[in-house]
């Protein structure tokens, strides 16, 4: 798909609008973000936005879709070949953390915005496809890891929830917006996921 100059410029402007919208969403919250404000940040008149997107909702959806799609794309190509499930899992999470640290506002939006949506709406978004693929991938890794005794021996679903939670907590929680280093993530996951040398409980008295 090759684009001539004009199409390229149009794409650039569309991207600019998305970036501005993201900034406004982030600063004001979804609720208070207005098209006027987005336009102002982008340096356009409000009406011009509608030359590029049908509606505010389309802008919102596009950010989510592109975001999740890109995340998925960049992760699925991530090389885990030859790694143990455990190593693969940890390095994948580290990779995600890297991505997050590269564009924190975007990823906060990707992770949190959906929760602010009405439930019925949350189901429909195209972006869900990519989110689900990511979750499925993680689930597979965890299942493999449990089977090989590299993760705590418990219900996959529980492990996934907990891992998701830990990750979420590490990367996003806290008022301080200090970024967590890769080393810290490594340490945390490494410690918490320490593999069972034997079946838990069994040998101890």
């Amino acid at each position: 798909m090759s684009l001539n100059r004009k199409e390229l410029e149009r794409e650039t402007r569309k991207k600019l609008i998305l970036a501005s919208a993201l900034k406004v969403f982030k600063d004001l919250g979804l609720e208070r973000a207005t098209m006027d404000e987005i336009a102002k940040v982008a340096g356009f008149g409000k009406a011009t936005l509608y030359y590029y997107y049908h509606s505010k909702e389309e802008i919102f959806n596009t950010i989510l879709l592109e975001g999740w799609k890109n995340m998925w794309t960049s992760l699925k190509e991530f090389d885990v070949a030859g790694k143990s499930p455990r190593k693969a899992f940890i390095s994948l999470l580290k990779r995600i953390a890297e991505l997050v640290n590269e564009d924190r506002p975007l990823f906060e939006f990707l992770f949190f915005a959906p929760k602010a949506l009405p439930a019925e709406y949350r189901e429909k978004g195209e972006w869900r496809v990519y989110q689900n693929r990511l979750y499925d991938l993680l689930t597979l890794m965890i299942e493999a890891g449990i089977k090989e005794g590299q993760f705590p021996q418990m219900d996959t679903r529980l492990v996934l929830k907990a891992m998701g939670g830990i990750f979420h907590g590490l990367v996003f929680l806290g008022d301080d917006r200090d970024t967590i280093t890769e080393a810290e993530i490594e340490e945390m996951l490494g410690t918490l996921l320490r593999k069972d040398k034997q079946a838990p409980v069994a040998h101890e008295k």
Copy 2:
């Protein structure tokens, strides 16, 4: 503070309004919740709501404040005397999970609604006082636990973030709204928090 019948009825009506508002917030999301809808659910005319609360915001704040205050009250009286930091910590989290399971919509609101707020606003709420007390309490427990070698030896802040995350993940994450049992929480925390040199806590029956 004794109330006569009228004052009591007034209190009851105020509570009814809060409960209705919570329901609407939950169903429609903060954004789409309207005073008209809240009034309808409560069985009042919209104007009547303003006889009990100054504004929509006051209703919102009251729910958060009462919620966090009650949570704190019910937790601070929770008996941890004589327990090791580790046991105290785990039983406190279990207690919180119990509370959550008793009134899921309320606690989802307490935990998630603040994130949907504009940052500058988030700082101001009175409810923050109680949230902070809870976090401080947890931090103290974790610090003590680390010192006594009952938790992984790492930065307190990291452990708190991770624990918060795990808890968050366990209790809230996932589309399925199935409640997590106490036993599962016990298992998860017990396994992940396993002390360095020793076996996981024995599961009580």
